[in-house]
Symmetry: D2
Subunit: 129 residues, 4 copies
């Protein structure tokens, strides 16, 4: 399962070097994950899942920064579900500007209940793979 998200770089996301701060990228990745689920056949959203007691917590994050993004750039984020395990989900990310790769990333999410205990990934997310 894949999704493409358009991201306009906000002024407050940029730092005194004039480029998007490196902590903006994992925020964008999270937007990508939201869109993967919305664009899936399931018609379920993360908001729905959370209302049902399914929490997805980031347990691992990796980002490689290749070229800077700047204020007002219109970026394209490609998000792919790469693995769905028993209690974990992995995503990979490619961030581009006009076809040029700016950054890549990878996250692992753990599926938790309201008390923070691991629970099996719901079937609906398994279908996103």
């Amino acid at each position: 399962m894949k999704a493409t998200t358009k991201i306009r770089v906000r002024y407050n996301e940029c730092d005194p070097m004039g480029v998007a701060h490196h902590t903006a990228y994992p925020v964008w990745f999270e937007m990508g994950r939201t869109e993967v689920l919305r664009q899936s056949a399931s018609k379920v959203t993360y908001r729905d899942l959370e209302a049902q007691g399914v929490m997805l917590a980031v347990v691992s994050l990796e980002v490689k920064y290749k070229l800077p993004a700047r204020y007002d750039d219109l970026l394209e984020l490609r998000t792919t579900v790469t693995n769905v395990g028993h209690v974990k989900i992995e995503h990979e990310y490619q961030l581009l500007r006009e076809g040029v790769l700016l950054a890549t990333g990878r996250t692992t999410l753990a599926c938790l209940d309201r008390n923070g205990r691991p629970q099996p990934v719901p079937e609906i997310l398994r279908e996103c793979q």
Copy 2:
């Protein structure tokens, strides 16, 4: 009731103009409110209040920006509780760097229950006045 909070300006709080972004200031004001309560005689924290079902939602915010703050500046935030009404609390803020006033602010918070309905301000907060 008053409190003084030291704030070191973070790199990611600064924008391409090289100064702290204007949206960092209300974040700092919230830190000031946390410290007012912590430094009060009550020994209660906002975290305790929230655990007891007392939510404090900002319903009004005003900031006047006079001089810029920069990365790594060590600022002093003076937070004052100026009024405690039946369901609302007002604070005022002065932000300084080495005695020079950089900005002032004012907020009104409404006291809500877990369902977002107004509830009387707890007695413990009334004593902060």
Copy 3:
């Protein structure tokens, strides 16, 4: 001059009360200002202006919060240029969800040069009024 901007509430913009944190709103207002200029007849962007040495610094911010916004809400921000003076520009904001008003705001920006000294508002911005 007016512009309408669609805003999808991000997960990281929401707080433990489950609603958009009050400091997300002035970030959205800044997005609205960027879009007013982009949608104007001038074909100039804030990014262009900044490259030309025209800095627009927020000197006053006011927000009234009426109803909460939640994660994944699709909001509509209406931004209006209400006054363009010699060195200052005023905007007003209305934030809505499905036609219901959630918040209003107002900002004053000062036009500065690269050294932080006031300079006249460029003619191009005057036409946005």
Copy 4:
């Protein structure tokens, strides 16, 4: 070279799950890097370096999240310079609460000039190793 930084978790850093959002951690790591340099024998700060045209851009970020941090927690961040190469610097991070490890991280920074081109790491940073 090592530094320890105390971090009080801010309300706006926490999300609807009631825990610090995963994107707050790399912000804290950046604070740790600022403090490593400040606490070094060099008496130089990142702010000084940047004024001299030495930019340090994050090119790689890794975070492992083990246990959640919560609003108002007082955390301890241990930052270590693990390698200083010709144009790159590596740091490792340990985030603890009352002696319990919450997260670990690792970053690689590239030393750039004002035009974004690699330049040798200044001698002063080499001494931080």
